[in-house]
Symmetry: C2
Subunit: 257 residues, 2 copies
């Protein structure tokens, strides 16, 4: 009764052994790719430990043993799922960044355009790239916030790109302390990945006024929000919280009931 969730979903995808083969043939995709697709979808929903190799191979309509054969094991499959689309995505993001720089010559690109080159290729694919991309970004959201996977997978697959973006941001914010930009980037990536999770929370909170799935709406807002935030950080603590809110956290402790 308590374990229902995972099982019900997986069971119906199984069918009889003859059905499995026909499904695989109908899709006309190699087993390896079918495993990646199914793993992507299920890992995005329930995380690494929330899905079994059997769940994945049943959903893919292939045999359990093929995960070990093609990837080596469950953890390696997880890493492969994460890597696959990162490799498609990052060249595009980097290309868009360089294009923004060229368009801005001989000046410096606007902060909004830099942030947009970072977020747009992801938002666009999550919105209109199909179910696989949608799942992938939901997975990125979980990985980014995971103490176990975040430092491994995010760092490995995205940080070389991020370093380039931060270098260009520094050009656009001359005289700004680098630490402000790193923190500004961290706030950006937190906001962006929560958006990808599409948990539907904002839908309820806003009484239907906003929808989690409205990635076009995020595209309209996020770059502006982040650019303004970055500029405020670089302007220094002069514009800091007023009243009791000072820079030392402890100074605020007595303000608590």
């Amino acid at each position: 009764m308590t374990v229902v969730r995972r099982k019900t979903a997986a069971r119906k995808a199984a069918g009889r052994k003859t059905a499995k083969a026909s499904v695989a043939r109908a899709a006309a995709k190699p087993a390896k790719e079918r495993i990646l697709d199914a793993g992507e979808q299920l890992f995005a929903r329930n995380g690494f430990y929330g899905v079994s190799v059997r769940d994945i191979t049943k959903a893919a309509g292939v045999d359990v043993a093929l995960v070990s054969y093609h990837f080596g094991g469950k953890r390696e499959l997880f890493a492969a799922v994460f890597r696959r689309r990162a490799e498609m995505l990052n060249p595009e993001r980097l290309g868009m960044l360089e294009q923004v720089r060229r368009n801005a010559l001989p000046g410096v690109p606007a902060l909004e355009d830099i942030v947009n080159a970072f977020t747009y290729p992801m938002l666009e694919r999550s919105a209109r790239g199909g179910a696989g991309w949608k799942s992938y970004f939901a997975l990125v959201a979980q990985v980014n916030n995971s103490p176990e996977w975040g430092p491994v997978l995010m760092t490995e697959h995205f940080d070389p790109l991020v370093e380039r973006f931060i270098a260009v941001m520094r050009e656009a914010l001359p005289g700004c302390d680098a630490r402000e930009i790193y923190w500004g980037y961290q706030f950006l990536t937190g906001a962006l990945t929560l958006t990808f999770a599409e948990t539907g929370r904002i839908d309820k909170l806003s009484g239907g006024l906003c929808r989690s799935s409205d990635l076009d709406g995020v595209h309209q807002r996020l770059a502006r929000y982040v650019a303004a935030g970055l500029r405020a950080l670089c302007a220094g603590p002069a514009a800091a919280p007023q009243g009791k809110a000072r820079s030392d956290m402890a100074a605020n402790a007595d303000a608590c009931p």
Copy 2:
């Protein structure tokens, strides 16, 4: 070999049965509370499915059966862990919000102070509240980004509070479309929870210049960043991304290599 992670951590905490009892006695805490503490720590590290009831009870030095006895089951324990500190936290945040309002009379409180009332009680406890609070907020980070748990636990335990904060933000931003504020809040919560995850990613990215654990640094920056972002959203699309970046995402598609 592949399953090592979870097992090694749990095994060493087990000990012999006599040791278990002595540990429990030495701590002088009721078993129910010990289970909550251990569950909090382990769920924060590996998520709901990444930890077994046995892992938790071994770490707590109590018997496996006590999870069912005290909570009903694993899922109910998870919910109880999440609820426990939310109930300590929210009255304080609400109190700080009302105090900010009182201090601002007869005017309207500054946006920075409102955001600060939202974030400060959490940042302060994560920084100096002890290991339990630190684990708890890392758990919140995972739950917030989980399509499975986010809509249930975040909505139930935090949204009544969030509605009050958003109402006060609207007072501070007269004439601003409510949707801008809901999105601005979503970006805030994404940035805040990623901070709580403390994955160490910003440490590597910045070459040690910034540290994930520097929550005082976040306190100095986040309210300013978010307030500036919200004001930019409310200023309307006039300040939107320049160049090719327009409001319609598809308009940007041809900008991709």
